[in-house]
Symmetry: C2
Subunit: 254 residues, 2 copies
């Protein structure tokens, strides 16, 4: 996570802010790892910005794919919907993250993307982005990395859904959310969850009642304090322990 393309130069956050001000991403999003000149090209590729209110859609399943979206502020959920209406949320996205990567291959959105709160997006028309990636070597590499990272994140979720107990899943989620908040400059222990218990259940593969009971239990055990969607993490170390109490399973063989 700290190594880089040989040619890519890392520039300071203030510089990034200046160059990326047009999309107010505060130097997060794609910009990381690109030079200043490259970022100006990138700014040229940004078509427009959109502000969505809570509950509005970034995309609906089946929509034609034309652009990726970078979250400037706010948050979203990505909902995969089964034939019969079963919902699986495959990701919650925070500022600086890229939406729509799963739509490139079929040129259609395979999922609904919904704003969890008031959310600002930068629209990055994909054709222009691809053309730019041919000019700017660092950008191509950056895009590969971002897509690879998305694969990785989903693999972590697969591990959670396939092999972890309910309490392990919620603990893992809280730690992950905490880390991402910290990387955005917020407190890692004072969380304001933008999603409902239902959403959390649809993400973790649990019933909303189970999620709610676990919050109560974690609170009784002194791990966290719960006030609706406001969560205070009292003991990160113990949460990490909870994460690892899987019942074990045999190792890889052919």
């Amino acid at each position: 996570m700290t190594s880089h393309d040989p040619g890519a130069k890392i520039i300071s956050i203030p510089t990034l802010k200046a160059a990326c001000q047009e999309c107010s991403l505060n130097g997060i999003c794609l910009s990381l790892g690109l030079g200043e000149a490259d970022m100006k090209s990138l700014a040229g590729a940004i078509k427009s910005r959109r502000r969505l209110k809570k509950g509005e859609y970034v995309s609906r399943m089946g929509d034609p794919f034309r652009a990726l979206y970078a979250i400037s502020s706010g948050s979203t959920k990505t909902c995969e919907i089964a034939a019969d209406g079963g919902v699986q949320i495959t990701a919650f996205h925070l500022p600086g993250e890229l939406l729509g990567l799963d739509a490139i291959s079929a040129e259609r959105y395979p999922s609904d993307i919904v704003a969890l709160e008031t959310t600002d997006l930068c629209e990055l028309p994909f054709e222009r982005l691809e053309a730019l990636a041919l000019e700017v070597p660092g950008l191509q590499h950056q895009l590969f990395r971002i897509m690879s990272r998305e694969v990785l994140e989903e693999e972590k979720l697969l591990l959670m859904l396939g092999r972890m107990s309910a309490e392990e899943r919620l603990a893992a989620f809280l730690l992950n959310f905490s880390k991402r908040h910290q990387q955005l400059g917020s407190s890692p222990t004072e969380l304001r969850l933008p999603m409902s218990r239902q959403d959390l259940g649809d993400y973790l593969g649990l019933a909303l009642e189970t999620v709610s009971r676990l919050f109560s239990r974690f609170q009784e055990e002194g791990l966290i304090r719960v006030q609706g969607r406001q969560i205070k993490l009292h003991n990160l170390a113990k949460l990490r322990e909870v994460t690892q109490h899987l019942p074990a399973s045999p190792a890889a063989r052919a």
Copy 2:
């Protein structure tokens, strides 16, 4: 899935075979959607081929990332391993598919990749591939599509693990495997599974005993015939029905 980059030209399978013969991929792998000249460049990027026996590793978790691998023949499993030894298989890969996409971002392999049977691979050094993708527009687009597709596949698995019952998962797996076999030119109803019941359980998030019981049940119900790893699908339509008997869950809201 049938639309393409405006500039990309689709060439015939025999032509592909000729151009790709060096890696015996029979025109599957990356080549799809690239012109003949582009494929020659691609051939130049192939460093070498490897033959693995059953149980040998393509990569181990933590290995430094240098190359992607295309499967020429055989099959692999990709195993995510939790801190305490819990295993989640995140993918089974068949000929023509690309391994290692999740290793690009951290420049390390996050998972073990193991051959399920004798398997031939083409090694594609990633730096060379990236350089080539800057020269060959179709290749960059192709790589984006392949990575996007990987994200999509994992999202389908997430839906299975998070929202489907055991029998729905196994039915969905059989249908998916059937479709991929068909795309490789094999029978969609006569399957030879290269993986153990244990592997299947580690993929579907089930105990191996549950997988075994389901095979028996499906057989009793006349859906399939089971002879160890040799599976005959008798009724694809009914398998599809089984797939969709989820107990439903509320739709998306903010």
